[in-house]
């Protein structure tokens, strides 16, 4: 079913939007993304040199460990989320596939745009994902995540070597680009896409919570969306 606009007037009963696996994924994913952004940034452009005995220091080592460990968890989470798109509730696939061919969705999209341009007096109320936020999720989260995972594993294949399963599965990425420096470049650009996503995503959620007529952040915690008049 996905996105559906609700009537502008009257009281509305609370709706269950996110089931618990979805919510668990969301918060674990958020944590992993923060760890990945920080550690990834520092891998590419490291901190000032640490002084001290080389044999007892492992600064880059731990950063890379944190990055590679959370990167692989992030990828597993992503896989799970794709699986859950098919097996979750009626809203769980909307993240990957906004229903842009449906009039209800496009109307909702323009309504949301107008609302964000402060042209509507009353905030739209709806079930499912906010269409504008949904597009941002797709363009700045889902696609960059996919690219980060692909380039990430292709770089991991360089670390684990040409006999590894990672190389077996992702070595074709190397053939596409030839020079694996390009993998680093793309991976790093995706970092910035994710930074942009995080900023806009948090802002939209908090703003909807504050000035819209329904809950957002608490919905992701409890799964229930409540409506104001």
């Amino acid at each position: 079913m996905g996105y559906q606009r609700l009537p502008d007037d009257g009281d509305l009963p609370p709706q269950r939007i996110f089931d618990w696996p979805c919510r668990a994924w969301h918060w674990i994913n958020a944590l992993l993304v923060v760890v990945l952004i920080v550690s990834g940034y520092l891998i590419g452009t490291p901190l000032p040199s640490s002084s001290g005995d080389t044999s007892s220091l492992y600064v880059m080592g731990w950063l890379r460990f944190a990055h590679l460990a959370s990167g692989q968890l992030f990828a597993l989470g992503f896989l799970f989320r794709v699986y859950w798109a098919f097996n979750g509730n009626q809203y769980s696939w909307q993240l990957f596939l906004p229903t842009f061919w449906k009039k209800s969705w496009t109307d909702g999209f323009w309504a949301q745009i107008k609302w964000n341009l402060l042209l509507l007096k009353l905030a739209p109320r709806y079930v499912g994902l906010n269409p504008v936020a949904n597009v941002i999720m797709l363009v700045l989260f889902v696609l960059p995540s996919l690219l980060t995972i692909l380039t990430g594993f292709a770089m991991l294949a360089e670390v684990t070597g040409h006999d590894s399963w990672q190389y077996f599965c992702f070595g074709w990425m190397v053939s596409i680009f030839g020079n694996t420096l390009d993998l680093h470049l793309l991976h790093r650009l995706c970092l910035w896409a994710l930074v942009c996503f995080t900023m806009s995503h948090i802002y939209i959620a908090i703003r909807e919570d504050a000035v819209g007529r329904q809950t957002m952040v608490s919905t992701m915690l409890s799964g229930i969306r409540q409506y104001r008049r």
Binding site: S49, T54, Y58, G178, N179, L181, R188, S200, R207
Partner: protein, 372 residues
């Protein structure tokens, strides 16, 4: 007997060596060294020696296209004192316009003879690549475009070795915007296996090692996805770099000649391309293993990687993105985007808050006691 004289009788490599005054002790020394380098195990040396003694020597045509001859320079400086001698007799360099004595029409005739006499049985080694633009006139060899020479010789070769980054990936000639349309060998040849041996130049021992392997075992070494022999290009510089401990510790040279540089810290921040470069420098070293760039305090430039000239600046960690302005890189582009979004969010927030405040006041004024 000159190595340029060929007869129909089968001549073995060992015979040629003998005729060149290489004694048995030197010969066996060479075989052991090669066996070690190729990772062939304890029996390897005997196998190489035997193969060289019984197998007919394979003619090698060594062509020079658009290139600087640094590969040949590297090759003739093989570290083992006799290696170059051995190799030179072994491959019976029947044609190499830089090294051979013959010149002019005589020399060019040799190529046709080899194609005729050894159809499908000679190895073609190519140094440099082929400029395709303007019908190939950017590289004329023997009065004709190099393109046609390559096509004639490649067609009947048993295998082709593409020496150096030029032949393998294009190198500086093919750097953007590549005005002569310099094209790597593997893109021009069909039906004949091509082995890429990149590096600018490749290490001498790598070159001799690959030739020895092919000539003694009569087969191609194991190749990776980019047709590079795994035995020499299977690992990154970074994987075997002796400064790796400093990388893991997070100790970097921050600027040239700082304390870190004197301590031999990792050169990552000065743009070392070791983490993305497949080559044997950090294992075999250069000039008889004396040193290699990183050991001398210079970051790896990634000379054996595809398109390395277009992946600059060489002494900076982050690759440039000329598409976004001549000095920009991923971080500048990313930060600009993030700042843009941050500003938009800030402005939007300010306007929303202002509007809410205004609206609140109006609502309060119009219907007192009925707050929304």
């Amino acid at each position: 007997m000159s190595i340029l004289t060929r007869s129909k009788r089968v001549i073995t490599t060992a015979e040629v060596m003998e005729s060149r005054g290489i004694n048995r002790r030197e010969f066996l020394g060479f075989c052991s060294m090669m066996a070690v380098m190729l990772g062939l195990g304890p029996e390897g040396s005997g196998k190489i020696a035997q193969a060289m003694e019984v197998k007919p020597r394979v003619p090698v045509l060594w062509l020079h296209g658009l290139e600087c001859t640094c590969c040949s320079e590297s090759f003739i400086r093989s570290s083992h004192p006799q290696a170059s001698d051995v190799i030179l007799s072994m491959i019976s360099l029947d044609y190499d316009d830089t090294l051979m004595a013959a010149a002019g029409d005589q020399a060019e005739a040799i190529v046709d003879e080899i194609i005729r006499d050894y159809k499908g049985n000679y190895i073609l080694a190519v140094e440099g690549n082929v400029p395709l633009a303007h019908d190939g006139w950017n590289c004329i060899v023997g009065g004709r475009p190099f393109k046609s020479r390559l096509q004639e010789t490649a067609r009947h070769a048993k295998a082709i070795i593409a020496w150096g980054t030029c032949a393998a990936f294009g190198c500086v000639q093919a750097a953007r915007p590549n005005p002569t349309q310099a094209t790597p060998i593997s893109q021009l040849v069909e039906h004949v296996p091509v082995i890429n041996v990149p590096g600018c130049p490749p290490i001498a021992e790598v070159m001799t090692g690959i030739l020895t392997y092919m000539l003694t075992f009569d087969r191609l070494p194991d190749l990776d996805r980019q047709r590079r022999p795994k035995m020499f290009y299977g690992q990154r510089i970074h994987d075997k770099c002796y400064r790796r401990a400093h990388f893991d510790a997070g100790q970097f040279v921050e600027s040239w000649d700082d304390e870190g540089a004197r301590q031999g810290y990792c050169l990552y921040k000065l743009g070392c391309r070791g983490p993305t470069t497949y080559n044997a420098c950090s294992t075999i070293g250069w000039n008889d293993g004396v040193s290699f760039p990183i050991k001398s305090g210079a970051p790896c430039m990634g000379c054996s990687e595809e398109g390395f000239w277009d992946r600059g600046p060489f002494y900076e960690r982050l690759q440039g993105m000329q598409q976004f302005g001549i000095e920009s890189n991923a971080d500048m582009v990313g930060k600009a985007a993030a700042v843009g979004i941050g500003a938009a969010v800030g402005a939007h927030m300010a306007v929303s808050v202002a509007k809410k405040a205004l609206q609140g006041r109006k609502d309060n004024a119009s219907d007192e006691g009925n707050p929304s």
